[in-house]
Subunit: 339 residues, 4 copies
């Protein structure tokens, strides 16, 4: 019983995951942390009852005390940590992206295929959001017939100063890339990024974008990506099917009447909007890891495909044209419905 | 006082307008009708207290008893009737389309310019819908900052057997063409029609469509055009601006809780959804006509531009590519804010 | 054709009705006005194309130029004007209240019964609001089974300085008194007024109130009457039936996302909220008056009953207890379903 | 670390709580169960990795293996089990009601006071529902000014055959009794139960009820209690304050457009509606129990007061009149804001 977890990278998201995993569901606890900033690692470990700080992620992965690994370090470091965890035969939860290039992602897929079993889960948390699950349930249950069109919006109130143009795709729209594959059960066949009038609030950024995805069965998806909307953080999605549509409802839990308006409050950021999805994601991951089962969530193949589509979208952003997505055959290891 | 109206074409929409105009606002009444089907004209006239059936539209326009003309006949007949009304110096309300070709529309514009005063109003009723007016009011009032993106959906429960592929643009999306120009105060600079997976409910139709409009200031608009959605008739529109968005609310007047759902009823068709907009449209038109003022609503120039954009969209539908919209200079006659 | 109307009392509500009736539906026009303030009468008449100011309401009613009468003068003057119109055999639209005492209302009923035909309509405009009509339609159509409970709220942003405690019942809740009888098709059998914690915004007023109505078939209704809610004007109503409920939807035509909220705007006052209901009310009244038909709207009996119930509610407000409502037999003249 | 829990009474709600506590947050696990039906106890224990079935609740409470106790047995057995847990100095989570009579509840309060520390938490789960917490947060944050009126509805789709008239108060409305005290921070001063027209669906039951609560500061609350509404399970609450109102929003996570309606799905029962609140409730309880802290949730005093008010409401249901609520002084042990 219980799952002893090591966490590599203890910045904001790492600390959020630690909070969920230590003394958390399934008897999980955090027993080791590592960080490029050794002081930060020590400080975080010092606040946990059972954890110690280790000098490197590699040592953490190798430690006998660690049953499973969480990788929440800087993106470019994901590949070696995930490969090491796979080599060690330990379950590993890696925040998105799985790795920062198609080739790196492919190496992880190849390693897992060579190992012959799935150990990797990628942190695409939308799949765990109750509202997105209800959307998929309605769709799969036939409530609206076959899907034909999807309309999405991904809106951030603002982004930090280091946020660059390409991050609108690689960091932001990548959530929709995974969500659409999961929601519709189809691969993305082509992508085109359109550039509307620029917001004066976005500085040098090309903001907003309208990203068009063509699914392999012809379903067409438009995604508004806006990262400076000021009014709050909001995720919208409506699927139009042959006999109806299904749409995410406004998530505000209460309606307030005051000062001339009937209003629901909008979340300020993704942490507030998706807090529950992270709870469920890590609980489910810890459950399968503790039971030595393959992860039920998005795996290495999903991380790889997201990277391929994200790269195609970036090419479209740079060129302006429609870019087809080419995928190699899916390895048999990922043939199950859960990936 | 009072406005004596003649109506050419007394099919369904003609009879609806007669009902609104006879004994209607401003003391208007219907004094003459004409129809290609003389029996139908006689039958309709027979049910009105003050109307007689005339043999032809031309005679109706020429009749001294007729102060103003409503043209609700078959589209290809619009041009000669409107030209005749302009020649006669009588106010004319013409259901959309103004005429069925760019050249025909242009001849009407030229005739009006030559006459030196505006007599023509085109039946783009969206501008009279209270919800669309509230949308424009919020936008113009600065509630969401400068507009950047617009998302629309135009959904019909079903269409009659004679409905053809091109009608998705020329009869259906044409409403959005006029609405967007009015709402955003900009011309459409280019259009592209995308063809998602076809609905199995649409037979030979290419249904749905996703139509992209680029406004002259870069605002990008996507319009879902679906004409077989089965669940009802629905018009949706959300404008995304720099600091917020404004969206048409669900128009259902009551919320019903029963059988496992909290629901608003969806209108069955456009007559139900836009009944009030037609009331306002004809009341305002009759008011300006009775006062011998130029129409405040969409005029000949708007009808002409809608035709040009509609033609461009049809070329895109046929070719698949993006089609720029080329407009000649706007005649001074239409320089006022109302057209 | 046409209806020549005289209007007695040309304050705010009188002028609103004049705007709707002059050059309005059915060819109606306003041909005479009268007011206790002769200057105001002259000023209003001066702005109408066909109206002249008459010295007294009595002369206006007697004038051969006047086909039908609108009474929008001060409440205590309603009785003599309505009685005079009935005596003259002219249709009369009287703003609520029909008269200010049960006895005065009864004298009007008796006069109409003696005359043998219905000439009086009372200005209970809720019956003409599209949302209230949709509520009744759902109820009558069996959407929720037999009604059991009703929850209402009647909220004003603020009230003028001369507004007194009793006006919460006689001027405000009286709308619900008529609405409930119409909506449920039953008489009110008893009433009790409860006094919650007082709002600090209401000065000497007993505000809010919770008014309980027992219908003759046992349906129980609670009505929040709040006249200083600050945030806007709002009317709410939910009917709970055996298998579901039906509720007025939020009437905001658009949804605005800005500054951390997803919001619909609330009307500022009753004129904004019920503008359309007044249009329909006066159009339908003018139609029956022009056709010399009995009014289809609330009649003298409804005005009388509203007064009886309002008096009972005032007794409860003063005494704190439950007050049964005693009604005399309904005269045969009012046996039709429309009253 | 970890909390070893014993559960007394393993029917439906007991098994639900076991599912949440075994291998749950804070390293909690279920180590012992007991039930009046020994076979059922054995069957449930057999499905848990670490639990054994004990012959009696008393033995379970006394067992050294048990750190904390959950009481989910039949209501009349609650008192002795809770008293035994208090005597043993063990934290005890008791499903509502705390006990079935005022005297029994008082004995528990007295025992806890005598022991000098709080060990008892009562299962009023509303306090843990995110929407109810958001409602309280808005209220406490001053969003609507001081509260004046509250409107609630508690609706069950149906009730089992053994459900009796008094259970509408003691089992159903008791949730609002606790919720209102918590939400408003005031005691209930009086209660009156009104009996509207009976639903034909409720057999012998007096269904629905309208329950009026007067808070100690004059705030007036009306609660519709309907237990056969057929359409689903729904909890509604709107607080009207001096400058606005705050209301629970419709909890449906998605909006479905189909078959003529725009709809959100209604939960079928309380398990579906409040699943998340039970998760939070038991996680927070297990956290304080594991840390040997007093419970942060509703305690013995809250269970006692709920019973006193429920008894008053039953007297009103039987007599028809208004019944004041008399409470003894609150013991100092319960003076903290959390009870």
């Amino acid at each position: 019983m219980g799952l002893d977890v090591g966490v590599i990278g203890v910045g904001m998201i790492g600390q959020e995951h630690i909070r969920r995993l230590d003394g958390g569901p399934g008897g999980s606890r955090v027993v080791a942390v590592a960080d490029a900033d050794a002081d930060r690692a020590a400080a975080v470990a010092g606040q946990l009852p059972d954890a110690k700080a280790l000098p490197t992620g590699e040592e953490l992965i190798a430690s006998d005390a660690v049953d499973a690994v969480v990788v929440t370090s800087w993106g470019p470091t994901h590949e070696p940590y995930v490969l090491a965890a796979v080599a060690a035969g330990k379950p590993v939860f890696c925040e998105k992206p799985l790795a920062t290039t198609e080739e790196a992602c492919r190496r992880i897929v190849d390693a897992e295929v060579a190992a012959g079993r799935r150990l990797v889960q990628v942190g695409f948390n939308r799949r765990y959001d109750p509202a997105h699950r209800a959307l998929k349930q309605a769709l799969d249950g036939g409530a609206i017939g076959a899907p034909l069109l999807v309309h999405c919006a991904h809106r951030n109130a603002s982004v930090p100063p280091h946020y660059t143009r390409d991050m609108s795709i690689a960091d932001t729209a990548v959530h929709e890339i995974d969500e659409l594959r999961w929601l519709l059960g189809r691969e993305i066949a082509a992508v085109q990024v359109l550039t509307p009038r620029k917001s004066s609030r976005g500085g040098e950024l090309q903001d907003p974008l309208l990203v068009l995805f063509e699914m392999s069965d012809g379903v067409l998806v438009d995604v508004e990506v806006s990262v400076n909307v000021h009014y709050g953080y909001e995720i919208r999605c409506e699927v139009s099917g042959e006999t109806g549509t299904v749409e995410l409802a406004d998530p505000a839990p209460v309606t307030i009447r005051r000062e001339g308006a009937v209003a629901g409050l909008v979340p300020g950021d993704w942490r507030e909007r998706f807090a529950l999805s992270y709870d469920v994601e890590l609980r489910e991951w810890a459950g399968t890891a503790a039971a030595a089962q393959p992860p039920q969530g998005p795996g290495a193949w999903d991380g790889y495909v997201a990277q391929v589509v994200s790269d195609a979208a970036l090419r479209s952003l740079h060129s302006g044209g429609r870019v087809p997505v080419e995928l190699p055959p899916r390895p048999d290891l990922y043939a199950s419905p859960t990936s």
